[in-house]
Each structure stands twice: as structure tokens, then as C-alpha cells.
């Protein structure tokens, strides 16, 4: 419903993704040559480079595991059964009717349930099986020296070959499904640049909208510190009071906004709020710029930072015009 350009893939994540992609593709190309399927690099080079790539892949995996643990990104891959059917329905039917994605992509949840399940399977099963069978294959003779005994290489080789087929099939599916984002290319661009239009959760919408609401509201906004000094006001507040710039009021004491005889009432209100009370509404007489009088409706509530009341804030609505109208009546 609401989207925002977000840095969805961190630098390392993209580096990891593309390096992994390149390594898997290279491992597949060289690996199937070793398997005898075709001639590409030349057998000796294919074997040698396959082994180098295997080691590079292992190092990458170590870094990726470290990154996933330290950033907590591993949580993205916890599989869930929620919306799996919805996601399947989407790929099978919804997508052809331009139906919306059934699950929303957010920075906290980048993967849809099917992706979670697939990638979880890859990370927990396929890749470990490939890495372990691969290194057993590579160090077949040495494994015998340390006492691991295989009747033949064939079991290890078959398992490794099977894993390779699964990974190649995955890559084709993965490349295709990468086109099913918001546009044909949006997912791919995101994995290159890191940025993507991402749907916002309502909390994220709030985070985005609330500051704007306060800034642009027609209600005046104010924030006083514990000592009653003005710390922040919005444009509407300045307009209601007749000021033209925040510099004219920020840092000054709030008593300047009242007639001297009303100042104790303001101080008493501040004390009540600092004690934790809220003022639902109150009509007060103000003193605007150059002593211009006026009347407005006011709300007030304590402002908490780290559980401590640091001041008082609230909104004001000008009542002067209403009063004038009433007087005319």
C-alpha cells in the first residue's frame, strides 16, 4: 500500500550473493566437465579450478555465517508455514491477474514464505551436503588415512552430482523468479544496487508520517523543557502567535506568551504535566508578537525520553476568530 525506497540489501549481502552466484555457476561448469559431460576448460584446469573455487566458497561461507549471526539476518530464513498457500496461489494464478503479492517485502522480512523454505533448505541441506561431499571427494585419499573408510568413491561422487543437479535447477528457477518482483527487473536491480521500493508496515508508515504530520499540521505544536523554556514549535504555532521564524522564540521562556497575571496558571499547568498529568483541553489567552492578544485551545502532555519526563508538549488551535464571530452575533 505504502512503499519507500529502502536499502534492502547491505553491501556485504550483495557481495555475498553475487560471489556465491559466480562460484556456484563456475563450480557447476567445471564440475560437470569433471563429471565428463563436456569439454570446456580442459580436464586438468577444470579439476584444479574446481578445487580452488571450492576453497573460496568455503571461505565465503564462513564469512556469510559470521555476518548472518552478528547482524541477526539469519532470522530471515526461519521457515514459516504462514501464507505458503497464498504465495503458491499467487505464483500459480494471482500473478497473471496482476494481483498484489500476498506477503509484503520489508527490511525485517525480505523473504516470502516460499523463499524462506527454499533458502532454508539450501542453507541447511543442499549446500552443506555439497560442501561436505565435495571435500570428501577432494580429500578422498586423505580421509582414508585418517580412518574414514569408503568402499568406493562412487557414493560420495553420486551424492555430490545429485546436489549439483539440484543447485543448477535452483539457479534456473531463481533467475526466473527474480523477474517476478514489482517489475520484471526490480528484484535484480535491488540485488545490484541494494535499494528497492519496499512496502512499508503500518509501524513504518507511522514512523514516516508522524514527524511530517506535526511539522505540517494546521494545529500549533509546542515543546517546553522542564524549566518552561520553549524548545520547539511548528509553523502553525508561529503563525498563530504572529512570529515569522522559530529563532524569535526558541530558547525563550514560555511566560512571554502570557499576560503577567496568567503566568502562574501556565507554571502551575507545567508542574502538573511534569508530574505526569495530561491536559485534555483548555482555553487560554495568549500574548502574541508585539503584545498582540489572542485566545486558543490548548492540549498538553508530558514528553518522555528514556522513561523520564523531559518536558511538556501539546497542540494549540486558535480560537480568536470564533470569539470574534461570537462577539459579532
Amino acid at each position: 500500500m505504502y512503499t519507500r525506497k529502502v536499502k534492502i540489501y547491505a553491501g556485504f549481502e550483495r557481495f555475498w550473493h553475487w560471489t556465491q552466484a559466480a562460484l556456484i555457476i563456475f563450480l557447476a561448469l567445471s564440475g560437470f566437465e569433471v563429471h565428463g559431460a563436456y569439454t570446456l576448460f580442459g580436464y586438468e584446469k577444470a579439476v584444479m579450478w574446481h578445487d580452488y573455487a571450492a576453497w573460496a566458497f568455503l571461505v565465503l561461507i564462513v564469512f556469510a555465517i559470521f555476518w548472518h549471526i552478528t547482524t541477526g539476518a539469519w532470522r530471515q530464513y526461519i521457515p514459516t508455514t504462514h501464507f505458503i498457500k497464498a504465495q503458491l496461489d499467487y505464483y500459480l494464478f494471482g500473478i497473471f491477474r496482476n494481483a498484489p503479492h500476498p506477503t509484503k517485502k520489508t527490511t525485517l522480512s525480505k523473504l516470502n514464505p516460499l523463499q524462506r523454505l527454499t533458502y532454508f533448505g539450501l542453507k541447511i541441506l543442499v549446500i552443506p551436503v555439497q560442501v561436505i561431499s565435495g571435500f570428501l571427494y577432494l580429500y578422498y585419499h586423505q580421509t582414508e588415512e585418517v580412518g574414514l573408510h569408503f568402499a568406493s568413491l562412487s557414493g560420495v561422487a553420486m551424492l555430490h552430482t545429485f546436489g549439483a543437479f539440484v543447485l543448477v535447477a535452483f539457479i534456473f528457477m531463481h533467475i526466473y523468479l527474480a523477474t517476478t518482483g514489482t517489475t520484471w527487473t526490480s528484484n535484480i536491480k535491488a540485488m545490484i544496487t541494494g535499494w528497492e521500493e519496499v512496502e512499508l508496515s503500518m509501524d513504518e508508515v507511522r514512523e514516516e508520517v508522524y514527524p511530517e504530520v506535526v511539522k505540517t499540521s494546521e494545529m500549533g505544536y509546542y515543546f517546553l523543557d522542564r524549566d518552561g523554556y520553549i524548545r520547539d514549535v511548528n509553523a502553525a504555532w508561529l503563525r498563530i502567535y504572529g512570529y515569522s521564524s522559530p529563532e524569535e522564540v526558541i530558547g525563550r521562556h514560555s511566560s512571554m506568551t502570557r499576560k503577567p497575571e496568567d503566568a502562574p496558571a501556565l507554571r502551575e499547568m507545567l508542574e502538573r504535566v511534569l508530574a505526569g498529568q495530561k491536559i485534555e483541553s483548555r482555553i487560554v489567552d495568549r500574548v502574541g508578537r508585539d503584545g498582540r492578544p489572542g485566545r486558543h485551545l490548548l492540549t498538553a502532555h508530558p514528553v518522555y525520553i528514556s522513561d523520564k519526563i523531559v518536558g511538556m508538549a501539546g497542540f494549540i488551535v486558535d480560537e480568536s476568530k470564533n470569539i470574534e464571530k461570537e462577539a459579532e452575533r
Partner: protein, 523 residues
């Protein structure tokens, strides 16, 4: 974040480097200079008074040699070159193998054919079963130590040279040796000395081994990298190092135990390959397998000898000899049918250094091909390596009732019953088995036999060695070795098919899905 990139990149680089090439191989032998010095005789035998005389017989030369080199005959008499016997324990019982006792599928056996066979014995006069192996006069020093190239033993002379000019088979002339000149020029054995016998085993050049032949007299690097006249120019004895006349090395055609070997590793110390994976191959693959890609590269070797076809004469009663366009005999009425091959791709076997032999006393199954010698080993045998072999095949006479191989009398005078004079197999079998002291039923047949000859010579330069795909491919040289999984050669057809189906489903599914998206003009 940049730091992590950097560290990752560095790590990848490091991981790659870890596997980078090792140092080149270490060759223990120190090269031409050392060899050339060793090849020079330390004594000028021409200056020795004892040799400045004329000799009436080869025995006189031997006595002259032994006059200075006393007790050397004891060393000689302890060697297989003298005894032609190799006692070994086979399947628990002690048997005596060696040239004297073994059956092969060339000229079959020594017994009863001595004067012909023993032309290659380092002695004089082994013409029958009564040769005195303790007579030091009978040691032939010259066949190994002649450096003039003029000393020749006559092919049917029981080890003796001729005493007067003689024609062999009406073709080749043999001259009496100039013993004085030869004796004054003795030295260490050259390739030609060893080759006198070892190049011509089986009755002609390269007949037996396939990797030992007259081209090794002055080979090019393409024929043999070690012996190359324009290269290291190594002699046989540089590898077949000799201690008290016992020459290291032996052949599994005549012996069975894993002893007294020459190893490539004696000079080429591990690691010999820059590539770790290649180096690892040497655990299960003999050096010879890759470094002798083909044998009989200069001249053909005999691959098939069918004795059953022997004895054909044309209508004029003349023995038939068929020579092919390349000059090889395809048929000889005395010996039967031959097949020759040049540039032969070896066959490969698992070999753990021990062999089994079919002895003349063993019962055979004539329905099957009889393996006269069998190289032992398998993938499961951790001591076995893959070896290249020449497999000599043929048909030879056997006792169809007693189910044993037969030693036929081939060579001799007509009245001796020799096959080559009478062309009567029954008579030849009777006389041969009689001489061997073995029973013969009077019924013979011909059985197909095989003999395994591990290849060791004709090593090529490294760049001509086998490459990966000679074995690691669907049309592998090792197709016959099926007891292990060989990457590139082996696969599970079912698994590969399932895998391809999986990939095709992924591709097909994606294309179909994408097309529908295009057609329905959804995003």
C-alpha cells in the same frame, strides 16, 4: 563494510594460494657428467699382458678374466642370468620359476630345446639337462662386457659363438670372434650388450617385450627419454644398478615375487608433479601408466601367436611363409600365425607387485583363456597400482586329456622328434614331456593363452605423457578396470537422467510461466 569486503577478498585470494603449485621434482641422479664418468672403464685392458695373446676358445678368455677377477664367477653363478631359475612360494608351496621352468606363449619352454634357447645364456654349452652350473670355465664374460660390438653367440649354439664362418637360416652370417681384440676392449655393459638378448627375446626384434628392442640402441627422445642418444644417453645399468653382478630388476613373465626391483622413485624423488592432484595419482597409478603412453613406437611387436596353424606347406612341399607389406611375417609354417602391432596402446591392470603363474604341472580349464601369468591386485588392494601391460595372446599346445600345458620339443635334429623337422605335434609333445619328466596322454589340442608383460621402458618426455581425459572420459583407457569409481568415466545413468529432467523442468517451467505472464500482460 569495506573492511569486510577487503578481508573477504584477501581470504579468497589466500585460499587460492594455499593450493598453488609445489616446487618441481627432485632428481637424485646428478646428470650426464656423473654418468659419463661412470661409463668409462678404469683399466685399459689392452695393456694387460694376460690379454696380449691369442685365444683358441671362449673358455680360455673366461679363464684369463678370472685370472685377475678372481671369485667373480661366484657372483655370476648366484645370479638369475646364470641359473635361469627363480624359486618362489606360490599359494603356499615352493616352486621354481625362472626361464628354465616357465611356460610362455612364444617358444613355449626351454626343456628339450636348450641349444636354441640358451644362445642367450651367459654361459657356454647348456645344450641339455646335464649342464654343469658349477663349472667356472663356462661363464661367458664377453656377452655382457664386449665393447667392440663384434662378439656374437650363434642362435643355435647353446651359448657358443661359431668357430668358423656360419650361415643362420640361410640368411645371416656369423663370424668367429676376434677374442684378443674383444678381451682387450672390455668395459661395462652398454645398451647393446644387454640388447643382444633382451631386444631379441622370442626369436626376433621386439617380439617379446614390446618396450625393449633394437631401436633402444640409439633411441631418439621420442622413443625413450632416458636412453635418448641426443639426451641423457643413459645405459641400462644406470637404472638396473648392479651389485656383485646382481643386476636389479626382474620380469613378471618369469618371476612372481615383489623383490629386487628398479623403481622410478629411486631417482625421481617425490613430489614429482607440480600439481597436487597429479601427485596424488602416484598412490594408485604407476608412473609407467601415464609416462609410457604407447609401446613398440619404433618397430612392431608380436601380439598374437597361434601355434595351431603351424605346419602348412605349399603343393611343392615347401613351407609357407607369408610376409605382409610392412615386412612382418603374418605366417610361418614352423611357428604358425602371427599378428604384429606398432605404436600399441597398452592394456591396464591392477598390480601389487606379485604375480601367479600357470605351471606346466597345473591343471587348466581349456574352455577358458589360460593366463600363463597373472598380475595380482585390485582396487581394494591398497598396495596395487594401475600398470600398463603388453598382453601377449595366442594358442598353444596342451594335453587334452590330462588338462595340462605341454612342453613340445621344437628344436633339434630330425631323429630327436623336433617339431621343426617333423611337423608332428604328437611326437614333439611326447619328446618334450619326456625330457621334462612329465606325463603325456597322447592327446593334444590347442588352448588360448595370455601373458602379461608390465611395461617399463620407452618412457616419453613429460609433454607426451597421458593427459587427464585419456582415462577420465567416457572412452577411457581404463575401461576394463571396473572395480572402482573413476571421475569423468563413470556415472550413474539414472542419476544423470533424473538430474537433467530436474533441470529441464526448471527451465521449462520458467519459460512457460514467463510466457503466460507476457501473454496475459501481467507485470
Amino acid at each position: 563494510m569495506k573492511k569486510i569486503f577487503l578481508i573477504s577478498l584477501l581470504s579468497l585470494f589466500w585460499a587460492g594460494n594455499l593450493l598453488a603449485a609445489r616446487e618441481g621434482q627432485t632428481i637424485l641422479y646428478k646428470g650426464k657428467k656423473e654418468l659419463k664418468a661412470a661409463h668409462k672403464p678404469s683399466t685399459d685392458h689392452g695393456k694387460l699382458k694376460e690379454l696380449q695373446k691369442s685365444f683358441n676358445s671362449p673358455e680360455e678368455v673366461t679363464m684369463a678374466c678370472e685370472g685377475c677377477h678372481t671369485e667373480r664367477h661366484r657372483e655370476i653363478m648366484a645370479t638369475n642370468h646364470w641359473t635361469w631359475s627363480r624359486p618362489a612360494v606360490i599359494d603356499g608351496k615352493e616352486v621354481d620359476l625362472g626361464k628354465k621352468n616357465i611356460i610362455n606363449n612364444f617358444c613355449i619352454a626351454l626343456t628339450s630345446n636348450e641349444p636354441r634357447c640358451t644362445s642367450c645364456h651367459i654361459g657356454y654349452g647348456w645344450k641339455d639337462g646335464n649342464f654343469d652350473f658349477t663349472d667356472k670355465k663356462k661363464v661367458d664374460c664377453l656377452v655382457c662386457h664386449d665393447r667392440t660390438g663384434t662378439y656374437k653367440k650363434f642362435p643355435t649354439g647353446a651359448g657358443y659363438p661359431v668357430t668358423k664362418e656360419t650361415l643362420f637360416m640361410g640368411k645371416k652370417k656369423f663370424f668367429p670372434p676376434d677374442y684378443t681384440k674383444i678381451a682387450q676392449n672390455v668395459g661395462i655393459p652398454t645398451r647393446d650388450n644387454c640388447g643382444t638378448c633382451h631386444f631379441f627375446g622370442g626369436g626376433g626384434n621386439n617380439v617379446k617385450h614390446g618396450d625393449l628392442e633394437k631401436a633402444l640402441s640409439k633411441p631418439s627422445k621420442d622413443i625413450d627419454i632416458h636412453m635418448a642418444a641426443d639426451g641423457e644417453n643413459m645405459l641400462c645399468i644406470d637404472c638396473h644398478v648392479t651389485d656383485k653382478h646382481n643386476i636389479k630388476g626382474k620380469m613378471y613373465s618369469v618371476s612372481s615375487a615383489d623383490t629386487n626391483h628398479v623403481y622410478c622413485e629411486s631417482c625421481h624423488a617425490a613430489p614429482v608433479h607440480a600439481n597436487n592432484v597429479l601427485e596424488e595419482h602416484s598412490e594408485r597409478v604407476a608412473c609407467q601408466t601415464c609416462h609410457i603412453p604407447t609401446y613398440a613406437r619404433a618397430n612392431p611387436t608380436k601380439m598374437w601367436w597361434d601355434w595351431s596353424k603351424a605346419g602348412r606347406f605349399d603343393k611343392n612341399g615347401k613351407g609357407i611363409i607369408i610376409t605382409n607389406s610392412k615386412g612382418e611375417q603374418d605366417y610361418n609354417f614352423m611357428k604358425g600365425e602371427f599378428r604384429w602391432e606398432k605404436n600399441v596402446t597398452p592394456e591396464y591392470v591392477w598390480f601389487n607387485g606379485t604375480a601367479r603363474h600357470t605351471l606346466v604341472t597345473d591343471t587348466i580349464n581349456p574352455q577358458k583363456i589360460v593366463q600363463l601369468n597373472r598380475l595380482k591386485g585390485s582396487y581394494a588392494d591398497k598396495h596395487a597400482k594401475i600398470w600398463p601391460v603388453k598382453v601377449m595372446r595366442g594358442k598353444q599346445i596342451y594335453d587334452s586329456e590330462y588338462k595340462t600345458l605341454i612342453i613340445p620339443k621344437l628344436f633339434g635334429k630330425k631323429e630327436s622328434g623336433a617339431y621343426w623337422k617333423n611337423f608332428d605335434w604328437n611326437l614333439a609333445a611326447t619328446r618334450g614331456m619326456e625330457a621334462a619328466g612329465l606325463p603325456y596322454s597322447g592327446h593334444y589340442g590347442f588352448v588360448q593363452t595370455e601373458m602379461y608383460w608390465p611395461l617399463n621402458h620407452m618412457v616419453t618426455s613429460a609433454d607426451k605423457a597421458l593427459t587427464c581425459t585419456d582415462c577420465h572420459s567416457r572412452n577411457s583407457r581404463l575401461a576394463a578396470l571396473t572395480d572402482f569409481y573413476l571421475p569423468g568415466r563413470d556415472r550413474s545413468a539414472t542419476l544423470d537422467m533424473l538430474g537433467m529432467i530436474l533441470i529441464l523442468l526448471a527451465i521449462g517451467g520458467s519459460i512457460t510461466h514467463g510466457l503466460i505472464r507476457l501473454i496475459t500482460k501481467s507485470k
